[in-house]
Every structure is written in C-alpha cells, then in structure tokens.
C-alpha cells in the first residue's frame, strides 16, 4: 500500500470531494498561495478554478456567514483557517448560527459545512498559535468535532466530514502534517464518531486524540519493555464522543489516563472521566487520571515551553504511579537528544 503524509492526505481528500461533487467549495486565506495551508491545498485552484477554490478577505466571522449562506443554497463549502485562534473571530457564526440553524427551523434547512482549524505547538508559537480549543466546539450541540491523529484517518474523516449534512469542525494538529501512514488512493470513508484502538493493552487505557496519540503510543511502546501493557484509544472524533468504545476499553483494563491536547480544566479529559466514573466507577482499580497542557497561556521560549507541553514521559509517570511501579523516567525517556519544540523525528510513522 502507498505511503502518504497527513498534509497530502488532507489534500487528496479535498481533491476527491471537489472532483466527485460539484457543490463542494474550498475557501480560506492562503488556500491558493504557494504554500497552500501547509501544503494541504496546493494546486487545487489550478485544477478546479477560482470560483470553487478561492482565497478570501480577512473576515473570519463574515466569511463563516457566507459559507453558511452558500450551504443553505446548494453548496458544501470547506472553510479553512491557518490556526484555531483565527476562528475565534467567527465564534458567533459557528455557535449561534451554524450549530443551531437546523434546530431553529425544525429541520427545514441544514448547514453542511466543514471548518478546518489547525493547532500549533512548539517552535516559539506562543499564546495565540498553540491553543487546543476543541472542547469549546464540542460543548455545542449541533456541531461535530473531528480530530484525526494520522494520515489514513485524516483522509477518510475529511471525506466523511464534507459528505456530512451538519457543520463539522475538523481540527488538524500542525505536528501531524508531516507524519506518514499507509493511505489508499481511493475515496474511502472513516466514520465520524467512532474511536479506534491504536494499540491493544491489558493494564491501563490511555484515552487520547490528535497529536497526543503519538505521545501515548510512544509511552506504550516504552512501558511495554517493562512489562506494563498499555492500550491506546484514539478518539478520532470528540463530538459525537464514542462513549461505548471508551467504556469497553476501560472495562477491560480497569485503569485510565486521559492524555488531553488542551487544558484539563473543563476540557475533553473532564468529560471523558465523567463518562467513565458515571458508568463504571465501582469497577476501577484506581482513580482516573489526566494530563494536558500546563494551566497557563503558552510561553514562546523553549526554556519555558518544555514544561508546558506534555510528552510521553509525563504520561508514563502517571501510569507508573497508578500501578505502583517505581521506574526512573530519565532512563525510560532519555531527553538529552530529543528537541522539545519540534516534532520528534522518530514519530513520523507509519503506524
């Protein structure tokens, strides 16, 4: 099977959708520029014309309204922003309008749009280019929130998102764009709302999503050498949340750590742990634990950022405490040669 990186998988999914459905549009600041949203849109305007693949004014809220309007009149637009934070200018249209439209008119008009958002991390990006705000969107009934962790899922989930009849927030982690996976050339679908076991295990489940899946798998691989069997559950979608898969996995391992991409307070991990404790509290062998980014804005300097972003060693430490294993993290995860502010080169896949 062919290998492809995540960014090209996004482009291939978009190309497939533009090709197979004339009503699909692609709009975003920089979509047709030479860098094409981190390489995810290059060449598409040449192929489909500037009516269907287009740049846009710096008007995030207005343009979100425009794509909602176009979706009410026969189109399936994909709107893309280079960072999640730019979409905050359009929270009004996303939350008040797109999410509620179908409900407010009692099912007469739906809003089939996809909004692609990108989360940054490291490389000095600082407070306004690194936020992981999926829980904001996931809080809202009417929105779907999708967060693939690998190129295969990215392609299949983007096609499903474009074909979905509802507004879908499609969140890509910048550190995933270069990761490589086996990606079929055809237009396959990955269902929205279905989690996937990325690695099977017996002793503890890490429930995670997006980039933190990579750190979780690394953690699982290292702990396996010390006889700790870790299951990694990749949520793939945050809303709808696959509670069945979460409960199934944790009912087997009876221990859980949630590795969140964002802040833990009021975040995705809070929701997942609530679901677990509400349903299988009395089965658990230890209290659920969670890890996320530090409870502060993100600093730019790598001197501070190293303690801001969680990595595999932090997850492993929690698991060891949970299992009363006294292992030295400095030995398990020798840090000296791993830069903390760029993606780990050893984790470009395939997996």
């Amino acid at each position: 099977m062919r290998e492809l990186n995540f960014a090209n998988a996004i482009k291939e999914a978009t190309d497939f959708c533009l090709e197979s459905d004339q009503s699909v549009l692609l709009i975003g600041l920089g979509v047709p520029d030479p860098k094409g949203i981190f390489g995810t849109t290059t060449g598409l305007q040449d192929k489909y014309g500037d009516d269907r693949v287009m740049d846009m004014p710096l008007a995030e809220n207005g343009m979100t309204g425009v794509v909602i309007g176009a979706s009410l009149n026969g189109f399936r637009p994909i709107l893309t922003h280079q960072r999640v934070e730019f979409a905050l200018l359009s929270i009004e249209q996303i939350v008040n309008q797109a999410a509620k439209w179908f409900y407010m008119n009692a099912g007469q008009q739906n809003v089939p749009i996809v909004i692609r958002l990108i989360i940054g991390r490291g490389w000095g990006n600082g407070a306004q280019h690194t936020q992981s705000l999926e829980s904001w969107f996931a809080h809202i009934p009417g929105l779907k929130v999708v967060m693939p962790s690998n190129a295969y899922d990215a392609k299949g989930l983007l096609i499903s998102s474009v074909e979905d009849n509802n507004p879908v927030i499609f969140i890509e982690h910048r550190w995933l764009h270069n990761t490589i996976d086996f990606v079929p050339t055809d237009g396959y679908r990955v269902p929205i709302g279905k989690a996937k076991i990325s690695r099977e295990g017996r002793d503890v489940t890490i429930v995670t999503h997006s980039y933190m899946v990579l750190e979780s798998i690394r953690c699982a691989e290292v702990l396996a050498n010390y006889g700790i069997s870790v299951e990694v559950l990749d949520l793939r979608s945050i809303r709808p949340l696959d509670t069945e898969a979460i409960l199934l996995s944790v009912s087997k391992t009876l221990r859980v750590v949630v590795a969140d991409n964002g802040w833990t307070q009021f975040g995705v991990s809070a929701e997942i742990i609530s679901v677990i404790t509400e349903n299988i509290f009395d089965k658990l062998l230890s209290a659920p634990a969670r890890i996320g980014i530090n409870d502060s804005p993100s600093p730019s300097t790598r001197a501070l950022a190293k303690n801001f972003y969680p990595r595999a060693d932090k997850i492993a430490k929690i698991i060891c405490e949970m299992m009363n294993e006294d292992l030295d993290m400095n030995i398990l995860f020798p840090q000296s040669d791993i830069p903390l502010d760029i993606p780990d080169p050893s984790f470009t896949g395939p997996f």
């Binding site: 309007g69 179908f102 009692a106 008009q109």
Partner: protein, 321 residues
C-alpha cells in the same frame, strides 16, 4: 410584483392589523416569546418585497414580522409559531425571532444583530455561482451597521459582485440607544456602503411609493450591472423595542419625536392619497378590513387550537442524518 396601489395599501394594513392583534392578545400570556413589533415600519417591508419574485430570497433580524408577511410568509404558521405550537413555521422551536417560510423564500430571521447579513450574502453568492438570476434581500437596522460583519459583508458582496440587496431600515434607535450615542455625527451609512463600491439608494421609508420606486431602480441596477445594491430608508418604530406596548413614557426618545413620526404614518398617508386619487372608496376599505380581520382571527383561532409539539421533538433536529 406589479401590485396596484390598493394592494400595496392593504398589504401594509394587513401587517399593521396582525401586529395590533398580537399587541392586543399578548397580555393573555399565551404567546410566550419576545415580540418585536413592526408597527410604523410597514412601508419598507411591503415596498421592497414588491420587487422580489417568489424564488428570490429575503432574510431579516429580530423585528421580522413585517418582512415575513410582506414576502408572502404563511400567516397561520407565523401566529402558531408565536404560540409555540407544532403547526408553527418552526414547530415552536424558533418563536417570533426565528421566522421561516421556505415556500415563499423567507429563509430566516435571527436576533443576533447583523448576523443574517453575511449569511444572506452567502445565499446570494450561491445564486451567482449557480448562474441563477435570483437575488436576495436582507433587512438590517442602523444598529447592525456598527457590527464587524456588516463591513465584512459589504466587502465580499462587492468583491464578488453578489446579487444582494442590502435594505437598511434606519429607525434611529437600537433598543433605547439613539443613533447619536452610537455613531459619530459625520458618519453616513450610505457612504459606508458606497465606499465599498456598492451603488446606494436612499429615501423616505414611510412613503410606500418612494420605497417601491427606489427598490425597483435598485433591483434593475443590480440585474443590469450584475452587482449588489444598498438601500437606506428612514423609518420609525412606534412601540417598545420588545413587547406589545408603547414605551415613549420612559423618556429615551426626544419629546415629540414619536408624534412627529406618527404624523408620517405610512399607512394613513397612503390611504389619504389613494382616496384622493379615487382609486379606493371608504366602503371598499371597510370591506377589505373586514376580510383581513377574519383572516387574522382565523389565524389566531388556528394557533390557539393547534397542539403543542410532542415532547420527543425536543431532541429532534439537532443533527441531520
């Protein structure tokens, strides 16, 4: 389109009478949703919608009753919606601030000021992409011209030559805040639109003939030039911002301002004109009023007698399969 003067008059009168009935019965507390009545502003709605075809689309904001009715929205469905009934235009899920009637091309109204403007531009842009000759009219108030999306929408509409008619009803107040505490004295709404390269037209929003003539010109301009257009029409709300009664006693408006505007009643002044022109007699008017009354009474009877939505409707229409 091509309504006779009498028809324009009765369209305005019908809207007025619907609003008066809502005002009259609101105290029964069976219409349990906020209502923003259009009394005093009927001419803009009727004069603009006069030049829209059934396939053209209209959208509005919180004060939408007149626009919905002028576009041809179903009266029974609207009243039932205000009563929260299953027969309402949105099964009681929307209320007065979320009217919809797709049959007549009234797509939506929302109460977040300015928010339908870019959505309407998107609907119109889709017409252009589909090479359709239809247009979209979006009703907006003076307050919405202070919102960011107003400017974003003007820019995109002009950039892409979108077939949208912006209809600004300048009624000088946003809730209780008058224009001069919100907008600089030299600010001119029409010039804001013009400076985005959009052809603008302005006039007396209480003069149905003028509204209709200006709209006709604007729509012709749009079709001849494949471009958007902007109307600014002065008008005035008679009743309170939200609710069934007057609120002039609160003193937020200049003394005598309301009286002056009531003397410019779009309906009374037009009635005087068509009687003077001998196009209509008092008797004919009375007969038509009777017919409108019974239509309105029937709509209220229908709404009151309709069932509430079943409880299972609460969790319907969150996602479309």
């Amino acid at each position: 389109m091509n309504s006779s003067p009498n028809e324009l008059y009765f369209s305005m009168l019908r809207i007025r009478m619907v609003e008066e009935k809502i005002s009259e019965l609101y105290s029964e507390k069976e219409m349990r949703c906020p209502v923003h009545l259009s009394i005093g502003q009927e001419a803009v709605a009727v004069g603009v919608c006069e030049h829209l075809s059934q396939e053209d689309i209209a959208m509005s904001a919180h004060r939408a009753h007149a626009h919905y009715l002028a576009k041809g929205g179903n009266l029974k469905s609207m009243i039932a919606e205000l009563y929260g009934k299953s027969t309402g235009c949105a099964m009681g899920k929307g209320g007065s601030m979320h009217l919809v009637d797709l049959q007549c091309g009234f797509f939506a109204a929302v109460p977040i000021v300015g928010s339908t403007i870019p959505i309407a531009v998107g609907v119109a842009w889709a017409f252009k992409l589909k090479k359709s000759s239809n247009i979209v009219a979006v009703f907006l108030g003076d307050g919405s011209t202070e919102e960011g999306v107003f400017f974003e929408s003007l820019d995109f509409a002009s950039l892409k030559n979108v077939p949208i008619l912006f209809v600004c009803e300048n009624n000088y107040y946003s809730v209780y805040s008058q224009l001069d505490v919100r907008q600089a004295p030299n600010r001119n709404i029409s010039i804001l639109a013009e400076s985005h390269g959009i052809k603008t037209f302005s006039g007396d929003g209480n003069n149905i003939k003028q509204v209709s003539d200006i709209t006709e010109k604007a729509v012709k301009y749009m079709k001849d030039n494949n471009s958007p257009a902007f109307l600014e029409l002065e008008t005035f709300r008679w009743l309170e911002h939200c609710g069934p009664s007057g609120d002039d006693e609160l003193g937020y408006r200049k003394k005598g301002e309301l009286d002056q505007w009531m003397k410019r009643d779009p309906i009374a002044s037009y009635k005087a004109k068509i009687i003077e022109d001998e196009q209509l007699s008092e008797i004919e008017i009375l007969e038509t009023i009777e017919a409108i009354s019974s239509e309105i009474n029937e709509a209220f009877r229908f709404a009151k007698e309709s069932p509430f939505p079943d409880s299972k409707v609460l969790n319907q229409h969150i996602y479309k399969d």
